[in-house]
């Protein structure tokens, strides 16, 4: 796997995205999927930047490897407090504008755009892994 470790901050997101984007282009992932990849990485990395170490700071490691034809396996790890983003409640779509909660959409978007997403705690690390892009659902247009 190729790895890049940077400070876990919002300012690192574009460099980390650029790093994974390089792998995606190398794996032959379609151009129009790359903006989705940026989105997935931003959503995961902003969570790490905000919650993993607060009020301290720490590092985030992004690693990727080719998982198949035009497919990338991505792992994002931090050394912060135990935090499983996949435990977040799904957004409540039944609410109207006035009382629709403002948060909780990031993890939902990530889940909607990747396959095989999983969280594990390994020693003192939180590791979120997924494959990208998502397989087309049969009958989906």
């Amino acid at each position: 796997m190729k790895r890049l470790i940077l400070p876990a901050s919002a300012g690192s997101i574009s460099a980390l995205s650029e790093f994974v984007r390089g792998g995606a282009v190398g794996a032959g992932i379609a151009e129009d999927e790359l903006a989705k990849l940026d989105l997935v990485l931003e959503e995961v990395l902003i969570n790490v930047a905000r919650y993993a170490y607060t009020p301290e700071t720490g590092a985030v490691e992004v690693a990727y490897s080719q998982a198949g034809p035009r497919k990338l396996h991505v792992e994002i790890a931090d050394f912060g407090r135990v935090f499983n983003p996949l435990e977040a409640d799904p957004p409540d779509f039944s609410r109207g504008l006035a009382d629709r909660p403002i948060g909780g959409l990031g993890v939902f978007l990530v889940r909607s755009m990747v396959d095989s997403i999983a969280y594990r705690r390994e020693e003192d690390r939180n590791i979120l892994s997924f494959t990208f892009p998502m397989d087309e659902a049969p009958g989906d247009d």
């Binding site: 989705k36 931003e42 504008l97 006035a98």
Partner: protein, 110 residues
């Protein structure tokens, strides 16, 4: 991201271009809030040139729309396409905003 405001008779048109992400979404929210404080009831966001929006951007749209609604106004979206449109559809936000193809169509409803 660039935001270019045009003051019209019944609304303020905000032409948003580029990428709205975690680092700059608050700029859109602040720009809208200045107009709301100024007494603007209807904001039309022209998103034809918006290439990317993440959940932080969605938060800003939602927050601005909630403020305008409680002041009997509205945040109207037009020109949504590509990834931003997909993101609004996936999160079912599209049904919460008035959405038009063009700003002319949006203006005609005010």
């Amino acid at each position: 991201m660039n935001i270019e405001p045009t003051e019209l008779e019944k609304a303020v048109l905000l032409k948003v271009t580029g990428r709205m992400d975690a680092e700059n979404a608050h700029e859109f929210e602040q720009a809208c809030e200045r107009w709301i404080t100024h007494g603007t009831k209807h904001l039309i966001a022209d998103l034809e040139g918006l290439q990317y929006v993440s959940s932080m951007g969605l938060r800003s749209f939602l927050s601005v729309a909630q403020k305008l609604q409680s002041a009997s106004g509205s945040l109207i979206l037009c020109g949504l396409h590509g990834l931003p449109r997909q993101v609004f559809e996936m999160t079912r936000l599209i049904g919460l905003f008035p959405v038009f193809e063009t700003s002319q169509q949006a203006l005609a409803t005010l």
